[in-house]
Symmetry: C2
Subunit: 354 residues, 2 copies
DNA sequence: CTGAAAGCGCTAACAA
DNA sequence: TTGTTAGCGCTTTCAG
């Protein structure tokens, strides 16, 4: 019953059947190699007959290019990361690269994972919302491995990064909340160690102080839905509860909205305002309608891919730190100021007046 | 300025520095090889000094095991697939396998992708909600490549599959909707070619007929949020609009809920009931509270992983078709029957009474 | 336990 | 354009 397992067909087998040399077979499947019409036909015939499939592992060994991009993402519970991952996969697909996926606990030390990634001889590395120890950063530069940090910055030079304009984001959200008359503001942070969360918070509170709104509340939501629900509960249990909450990402903002409407029986945009950060697809759903600072995922990913491909083609291409402008998309989760609205990409946005 | 790019350190370099043979280095990093204490120490010292990292590509070439699992998933727009992907990644991680990701348009022909997957010499293949041409099915069996279809069945024997009990699911949902007094039912299908959607629909309508509810409406939502919104609009625009809608998955159910509450100003669970299929994390959010048939993702993934590991360890392990029992989790998106409730895993579930 | 030697399947000079 | 010849970096017999 058990069909005997065929030994994989090699270029050698094909060559023998086609009556050509093994290198002729190789050339037939190597882009830009010169093969005669006759030879190519014989090879393709034999190939088809035998079911030949070039072994990319062997090819990688000699070309020293695996056509694999290591991608490290935190929990896919957050739709933002699913969207990023899918966009990355699609973008690289077009250039012939495949994604070798590493999913990691957001907070865990990523060094052991990176060790493993490098053993696989990936051609490049993308770290999404995850930092890189300076030891590894240096090492990657030394071995000429292009690395891009997505949605996180890094002290080390030599490592590229693509982030959105967290400074502008936090500030414009402060402007918006103050312009719409909020008086007791709160921030729900992701994790203390995340540079994005810190940058957003810092620019938010700095601008608040500039505007004379010195006091504000603060909780940590850990970037998760559950964590943010708990954080929101603590906030709303306060004697003087906030009337405006800025969450370090959309997932936490949606969690906050759930607590506010379904547990506190309050109305969003009237009793309490919630603002997120990311603009995940879900934020536009009518039942969510979240006012949020958009990080344009397509640009994010495209820039990361461009940086990597540039470095792949020319190893002297310097690392660059890219900061992408976003904008505040206005929906219904937060009370509106009187003016300052505009239109962009079919969305209603808001800019600080002048 | 440009730091010269170091040639990667090889086992040979380490051997030379350590004053041992290259094979000694290899043994040091090969599980279950015999190396003397002294030798091992020398190798490890030299290794550390040079920054040696075993090349898994070269290892794969000779062992004929890449430690890579090809995973093909449809759009990650659907959180169900993100959850599956993350669970797969985590599960394989524990056994030393990595995920080589292939993201594909749900409807596209997957053959070209599979061709590419096989060239990479993955050790096994998981196709999520995607079918396999019989040509490939046979080929995979012949080359001894374990394949598991997740959330989809296949005609070909020899290919394993893990699905939830779609027949039971569709039937119990019909029972539930009839028991709670609905009179005009509708089904929003995924794609016509999807076996899961067809199975769910067939068992749903069959049971409906058995219960004397012959007529029902039908639309196609294409498994997407937008598609399902459009389908729901068509349904709700009908002179005799449905009072109960069963959607082939949760994402579409949530889209339907959005249209019903925000566009039609109707109340879920009173004017119209919506039932989904999957039980994605979001279904439990207070603002969603979707009644849905649970597909236990952890079991799904665990079974798939078990099948693959069994076949990896013993190539004569036969393919198996696994069907996993789910249950109907009752929340607030659908009107309730009078009786039949129970508790399971901390969730309120419903079973056809008798 | 250790080293020498033979490849894994393929690409890339180099000659012809 | 072709075939011949070396390896890519590693694992794995096989002697010692």
């Amino acid at each position: 019953m058990a069909e005997s397992i065929r030994r994989p067909v090699t270029a050698h087998d094909v060559a023998k059947l086609a009556g050509v040399s093994q290198s002729a077979v190789s050339r037939t499947y190597t882009k830009g190699a010169s093969v005669g019409q006759k030879t190519r036909e014989k090879v393709e015939a034999a190939s088809a007959a035998l079911g030949y499939r070039p072994n990319l592992v062997a090819r990688s060994l000699i070309t020293r290019r695996s056509n694999l991009i290591g991608v490290v993402v935190p929990s896919l519970e957050n739709p933002f990361y699913s969207e990023v991952l899918e966009a990355l996969s699609k973008a690289f697909d077009g250039s012939g690269y495949r994604v070798l996926l590493f999913s990691t606990a957001a907070s865990a030390d990523s060094d052991p994972i990176l060790e493993e990634v490098l053993r696989h001889r990936v051609d490049a590395l993308i770290l999404v919302s995850s930092s890189l120890s300076s030891r590894f950063a240096e090492e990657c530069v030394q071995i000429g491995l292009p690395v891009v940090l997505l949605n996180r910055k890094n002290d080390s030079q030599g490592v590229s990064s693509v982030t959105s304009d967290n400074a502008e984001g936090g500030a414009v959200i402060a402007d918006f909340l103050v312009a719409s008359g909020h008086e007791k503001l709160a921030f729900i942070a992701g994790t203390p160690c995340s540079s994005t969360s810190r940058d957003r918070e810092l620019s938010f509170t700095t601008r608040l102080e500039e505007l004379g709104q010195g006091t504000f509340l603060r909780e940590v939501g850990g970037y998760t839905f559950e964590g943010a629900m708990a954080a929101t509960r603590r906030l709303m249990a306060l004697a003087e509860r906030p009337d405006g909450i800025f969450c370090a990402n959309d997932l936490m903002a949606i969690a906050a909205m759930n607590v506010i409407t379904h547990e506190c029986q309050l109305t969003l945009g009237r009793d309490v305002s919630v603002i997120g950060f990311d603009n995940i697809a879900m934020a536009a759903w009518p039942s969510v309608s979240l006012t949020t600072y958009r990080q344009p995922i397509e640009r994010f990913v495209q820039d990361a891919v461009d940086i990597i491909e540039a470095q792949l083609n020319n190893h002297d291409t310097p690392a660059i730190q890219k900061v992408i402008a976003g904008n505040l998309i206005v929906r219904q989760s937060a009370r509106l100021p009187e003016a300052g609205f505009a239109e962009a990409d079919g969305e209603r946005i808001w800019r600080a007046g002048n």
